[in-house]
Symmetry: C2
Subunit: 129 residues, 2 copies
DNA sequence: CAATATTTGCAAGTCATTTGCAAATAAAAG
DNA sequence: CTTTTATTTGCAAATGACTTGCAAATATTG
């Protein structure tokens, strides 16, 4: 494992929320090239050390967000459109529902995406909502 | 309502699956400029005549997919990574769950995204799976 | 029909992400 | 440890969906 790859994985592990590839590249700064960040994120995801999903937010546009993958769990998230933080909704709660859809429609599901967007409690208060 | 806008809306209404902006532009061909398609899709969505979601597929990349909006309903979809068709999973079944998350975390949800990706029945057969 | 507001085409930009390639580094072999 | 081979990296250029400025064209208003 190269030093760039180790640094990227460690950064993912130290962050408690999904982080976008571009933000990750920014944090690594001169440590390695953005292209290296992108390539290694692909590597980590293919090797089950990270997961990702794409999310669009009006301020940051459409980006892919990554989390390190501990075990086989993945979580679902709420994204605040104001402060751009994520709130963990907990481990995946869709396994059974997905299975039912597979049965009903006879397709095979490889992946599912679920997330919420809105305004978090803190931002509501700040804005007096 | 301009003729470009009418044509775009009619195309959306005649299509039974979500359609990407670029595919829509391709279908309209010389009828209007791609920029006009993008601008009108924004217009239609802002005026509650269409809805959209972004989805990544390895073959077509990350794109926004649009559907015409009849009433206030929105549907969730399965996307086949092989034939790139969508299968309707039915009207939204998350209203209650979203409400519970709002209560639990005290945030306000503006939108939610849910979709499945995988291989449809027909493609499984074709591939002998 | 004239005056005003909105929309369009076109060309140029934006921005996350990808890619070709030669140099640098890591892993395997001896 | 040194050589050989395989993988990874930086850099610069490309990609592709989407956006935007602007002047001409079309729609709406009165
Ligand atoms: Mn954001
Ligand atoms: Mn597709
Ligand atoms: Zn917030
Ligand atoms: Zn299929």
């Amino acid at each position: 494992m190269t030093k760039a790859r180790k640094a990227i994985l460690k950064t993912l592990e130290n962050v408690e929320e999904p982080i976008s590839a571009s933000e990750l590249a920014k944090r690594l700064g001169d440590f390695c090239d953005p292209a290296t960040v992108y390539r290694n994120l692909h590597y980590l995801e293919k090797n089950n050390l990270a997961t990702s999903f794409i999310l669009h937010c009006s301020e940051h546009g459409t980006e892919r967000y990554y989390s390190s993958k501990e075990g086989n769990e993945h979580h679902h998230w709420f994204h605040c459109e104001q402060c751009h933080r994520f709130i963990d909704l907990g481990g995946c709660f869709y396994a059974e529902q997905v299975r039912q859809f597979e049965e009903k429609h006879a397709f095979t599901v490889h992946d599912h995406t679920f997330y919420l967007t809105g305004i978090c409690q803190r931002c509501k208060q700040k804005l007096g909502l």
